[in-house]
């Protein structure tokens, strides 16, 4: 192994086996590209995720109300966290 002077002959064999079994992609395969334009998916993802905090806040409020009304439920709640 060029980068690791402590590699043993056994390690060298494993490295060779790994390279032969997996196959290098490298950074020069310009034909290796996504099968489609991912921008529309990302836009949907952004819209979806931007609405998530409302649910988070609602959940948090629900938990706060529950804890205020039933303090005995705190250990049970902590157990399931």
């Amino acid at each position: 192994m060029k980068q690791n002077s402590e590699a043993t002959p056994g390690d060298e064999t494993v490295m060779k086996l790994l390279r032969q079994s997996v196959g290098r992609i490298g950074n020069d395969h310009n034909d290796v590209a996504p099968t489609r334009d991912l921008w529309p998916t990302l836009l949907r993802h952004l819209d979806k995720r931007q609405t998530a905090p409302w649910f988070d806040w609602a959940l948090l409020a629900g938990v706060a109300v529950m804890v205020a009304m039933f303090p005995a439920a705190i250990p049970v709640f902590l157990y399931y966290l």
Binding site: Q3, L17, R24, P34, D37, L38, H45
Partner: protein
């Protein structure tokens, strides 16, 4: 050229301020590179596409922390590496010989035909059983032959830590292969 550089810098500054137009331009300029980078780690076309979207989502969420002086690509790589690592941690290791994920790779990427199918399958199973942080280090440094410094930057760790991870990955792989009846 100077104008292009100025436009590039302006784009990065606008992205930092949260401009969706600048983000879209950066996405289209870097989507293929980020996808390829992720594919080099996860070796699954579908997952690489999904993780490219996830990485750019994280990139957009972190726009205020972006430092234009340090360039977009190294920063995007670090975020994509983290996303790939999280994905790997969620995957269950293979219990039996299977090379499905590798079969999904583009035709340009092929394994050495000198290795028998059985050895290849067993090596892939052993690889899938490695802890995610060791597997990712082995993929980048051993398989992709990336300089350790570059791998360290992407993983956000020191070069010494990369060496340790690769060393441990090789030892675990060797033990696993021996258990499967292959004596490296």
């Amino acid at each position: 050229m100077v104008v292009e550089t100025m436009n590039g810098r302006k784009q990065l500054d606008e992205f930092r301020l949260g401009s969706l137009d600048a983000f879209e331009a950066l996405f289209h300029a870097h989507q293929a590179a980020v996808y390829r980078w992720i594919l080099r780690m996860v070796r699954d076309v579908g997952a690489a596409e999904e993780l490219t979207v996830e990485s750019f989502w994280r990139i957009y969420q972190a726009h205020a922390r972006f430092n234009p002086e340090r360039g977009f690509e190294p920063w995007a790589r670090r975020i994509a590496t983290r996303a790939a690592l999280d994905w790997m941690r969620r995957q269950r290791p293979s219990k039996e010989s299977s090379s499905d994920a590798i079969e999904m790779l583009p035709a340009a990427v092929v394994a050495d035909p000198a290795v028998t199918a059985e050895i290849r399958a067993k090596t892939l199973v052993a690889l899938s059983r490695l802890p995610a942080k060791l597997r990712i280090a082995a993929m980048l440094v051993v398989v992709e032959e990336l300089p350790q410094k570059e791998a360290a930057e992407a993983l956000g760790i020191s070069v010494a830590a990369v060496k340790v991870r690769v060393f441990r990955a090789l030892r675990l792989l060797r033990k696993d292969l021996e258990r499967q009846g292959i004596k490296p």
